[in-house]
């Protein structure tokens, strides 16, 4: 198996995975989307809310704020924690949000007791407060995975496609129709006027070039063991870390599965 980095830009990554099965690529995609653990606010206690928004609305909005943690590995998931899900500093981060109007309450106003934990974006508008209105909330964040609730989704856009191979046979008459038709500019005309594949990575396998080619010279074959994978994180962690922890998660599960199988035999 080979991994080649194509693009890395903060919370977005694109890489070429070759020598793997489609099932494996899909596994990485699924884990990136819903199985990478991260922090999110789980439960709140409202002491005062005189704002225009309902308590439940505020609870939802606060829950959806992505949280960055420098020391994410030190937290345990509540069900795996030593406290047995009761709640302890090992699986919880407490926060307090206390604002008096007028003005907008932003995600940066959430103060955590752990200095390593902060909101990933500091300018998410949460509630608007009028003159004399008050909001006092206390609560805690826990570490869980996206399949528990969408607010723990670490990856937003994760997908893959087979790497295409574009072949132009000798029948090409140099009409240039396929070059014009391609929406992703994956084909150009060479000096002789014949079509030539340039950036095959961009090809979306739409096969418009095959349809438009009267000579039937274009052939697109997906390379079945190579995948162009894209992953975008929702802000809790850089995309690089997202894919890394996704593969760790797969490994962890494989080890667990192996142990279970050994128990059976």
């Amino acid at each position: 198996m080979k991994v080649e980095l194509l693009e890395l830009e903060g919370d977005r990554i694109r890489f070429l995975l070759s020598g793997a099965t489609m099932a494996f690529a899909n596994g990485i995609r699924r884990v990136c989307m819903a199985e990478v653990p991260c922090l999110a606010i789980d439960e709140i206690a409202l002491y005062d809310n005189t704002s225009v928004l309902f308590d439940e609305q505020i609870a939802l909005r606060i829950g959806l704020v992505p949280l960055k943690a420098e020391n994410l590995d030190t937290f345990a998931r509540p069900e795996d924690c030593e406290c047995g899900g009761q709640g302890c500093p090992g699986c919880r981060v407490d926060f307090i949000l206390s604002v008096e109007g007028p003005g907008m309450v932003y995600s940066r106003d959430i103060h955590f007791t752990d200095p390593g934990v902060t909101a990933a974006f500091d300018n998410i508008p949460l509630v608007v407060l009028g003159e004399g209105e008050k909001l006092v909330i206390e609560g805690f964040a826990t570490k869980r995975i996206g399949s528990d609730h969408a607010k723990w989704n670490s990856g937003t856009l994760c997908g893959y496609k087979s790497l295409p191979s574009i072949e132009i046979s000798g029948a090409c008459n140099g009409c240039g129709k396929c070059v014009k038709e391609c929406p992703r500019q994956a084909l150009i005309q060479d000096e002789g006027g014949r079509a030539k594949a340039t950036n095959t990575l961009n090809c979306s396998l739409c096969k418009l070039c095959i349809e438009v080619c009267e000579a039937g010279a274009v052939k697109i074959i997906p390379i079945l063991d190579s995948f162009v994978m894209t992953a975008e994180s929702s802000g809790e962690m850089p995309a690089k870390e997202l894919v890394a922890s996704a593969s760790q998660e797969i490994r962890k599960r494989a080890v667990e599965f192996e142990a279970k199988l050994a128990e059976l035999s």
Partner: protein, 45 residues
């Protein structure tokens, strides 16, 4: 349960025995329920 009269802004105890809702101070018929002082616990979902 505490209510608040919308006209005279006084806190009013409603007598459930008496048929009909009415502010004992000013006779206004519109009362608002106050937010309970207890802490409200919610799941952030």
């Amino acid at each position: 349960m505490a209510y608040r009269c919308t006209r005279c802004k006084k806190t009013v105890e409603v007598d459930y025995e008496y048929s009909g809702i009415r502010c004992p101070y000013c006779g206004h018929r519109i009362l608002m329920k106050e937010r309970p002082t207890t802490v409200k616990r919610l799941k952030a979902v």
